[in-house]
Amino acid sequence: MIPVEWAFATIRELGQRLRARETTSLALTEFFLERLERIGTQHNAVVTLTRDLALRQARQADAELSTGRDRGPLHGIPYGAKDLLAVTGYPTTWGAAPFREQTFDADAAVITRLRDAGAVLVAKLAMIELAGGFGYRQANSSFTGPALCAWDKTRWAGGSSSGSGIAVGAGLVPFAVGSETSGSILNPAAANGISGFRPTYGRVPRTGAMALSWTLDKLGPMCRTADDCGLVLQAIAGPDEVDFTTIPESYRYEPGTAELSSIRIGVIEGCVANVQPEVKSAFEVAIEDLKQFAKVETAALPDLPYGAVVGTIINGEMAAAFEEFIRSGKVLELTAPEDRWGGYSVLVMPAKDYVNALRIRRQIQVAIDKLLVDYPILIAPTMATVAGPIDRDFREWSRGFGSSPLGTAGNAAGLPGISVSMGPGADGLPTALQLVAGARQENLLLQIAAEYQRRTDWHRQHPAV
C-alpha cells in the first residue's frame, strides 16, 4: 500500500524508495493510475490512460532493477505526456475533437527517450485544442472539457498544457511533459502551483509532436521541483536526426556549479504594475528570498513589440500547418466557438508581416542578449492573477490586469524559462515566479530556481486531493 503523501513526492524521493526496495515501479504505477482514474477525470485532466503499456513498462523496470540494471533517476518513475506527443498504439488527439481517432505509427522522440531512461508512461494528458493557436478565450476549449485547476475545480488550470499542470499539481503523476509556443508550460505550471520548465529553443526535439509554430514550439518538463525538471530535461534533451532545429550539443544537468553570490538578478521594471495585490506581495517576498543568495536589481526590458512579433509568427506558421484543416471545414468541429473561426483570417495574412516579425525578432534576440550580459537571470511574476474562474471569458476576469512581457520576450528570443510557486495569493491559490536566462543557460537557471526552493517550501504545498 502506497502512502497517499507519496503522490507529492519528488522524482529523487521516489527513486530512493525504489532502490531501497520500499516499493516497486509496478506498485507506483498502479497507485498513480488509480489517482488518474479517480481524481484526474474529475478535473478533465486525462485523455487516455495507457494502462497496458504502463504495466508492461513498470514490470520491465522492476525486472531490470532486480538484476542490477539501473537506467538512471527516471527508472521506474511514472509520468504523463501532453496529448500532442505521438505514442504508438494509442490515439493522439491534439486535444481536438476532429483528431480524436488520430494515430501515429512511431513514438515521439521524447517518448522514446523517456522509455529508454526507464520512465513509465501512464497517461496522455488533456490540452487546449491544437495548443491554443486558434485564439480560444475561455476554458471550454478542449474536447475533454474545461481543465479544472488542481487546487479548486471552479478555477481554470491554465493552458495549453492544462492536463500536465493539473496532473502534477494534484499528485496524479510525479512529472509530465508539456509544450510551449508562448506560455503553455509556464502558465499552467503557475496556476497549479508546480515547477514548469521551458528549455532553450532547439534543446528538446519535437519529432512526433504536433507543430503549431515551427520556430516557437518547445517541449519541456513539468515537475514538483526545479531539480526534477533538470533530471527530466537531461533525459529528453539533445540532438535529433529528424528535427534539424535541435541544438547539436548534448545536454547534461549539472546542478550547483555556479557561484551564486555574484549573480545579478534583474527584476523587470514595472512588472507588478498591473498584477493582483496578493501577487505583488508574494513577488516582493520572493525578491527578499532571492536576495539571500544573489544580487537583485531592477532591469528595464527593451521596449519592443514582443506580442505583435510572437502573434504574427504564430499566425503565419499555423496558417501553413493547418491550412488543409481549415479549408476542409474540419475546423468547424472544434469545441470553442471562437476556435472555429480563429483560423480563417490568418490565411490571408500578408507575407511581409511574417517576415517583418522575424526581422524584429532578431532585434529582440540582440537586445535581450545585451541585457542578459548584465543580468544573467531576469524575473517577473509568471501571471498577473491566480487561476481565473472556469466559466467566464478570459477578457472579463483578467480586465485591468496584465503580466510583464518577459514571458513573450523569452519565447520570441528562444530563451529558457522556469515558473516556480511563490506562495498563496487570492483565495489561497498559487502565485508564481518566472525566471528567464540566456540561451543554453539551463543549468544556471535550474540552479537559481533550486536554491530558491531550498530556502522556501512553496513547492511542497499541494492541494488536499
Partner: protein
Amino acid sequence: MSETESTPLRRREFGRIVTAGLSGTALGLASGGALAQETKPDEPPRPPSLATLMLAAVVTECPGDHWDDEMLQNVLSDIRGDQARSRQLSAHPLKNGDDPATVFVAPALPHPGGPS
C-alpha cells in the same frame, strides 16, 4: 456612411460582394458596384476596405454554408486585429539590412569527391 472598425457586415450584402468576385477594379473601384463602400449620393464611390476584400478572399477560398452573419463578423474582426498588429510591426523602425531570424541554414553536406 463609410465603413469603419465597428461597421457590421450583413451576410446578404457580403454575399453580393463574393458573388461579384474579387476584381476590385471591375467591380468596386470603377463602377461603384458591390464592393464599394456606401457614400452619399453626391460623393464618388469609395473602394471597399482592405479588410472587406480580405474577408471576401477568405470566403472565396473556403466556401461553405457556415458563413452566417456572426461568422463573417468574427472573421472580419480578426482580420482587423491582424491589420492592427501589422501596423504595429510596420511602425517599428527597420533598416534594409535588418535580416529576419529565419531557421534556414545551408547544410554542410560533403562534396562529391571531396574529403568524407
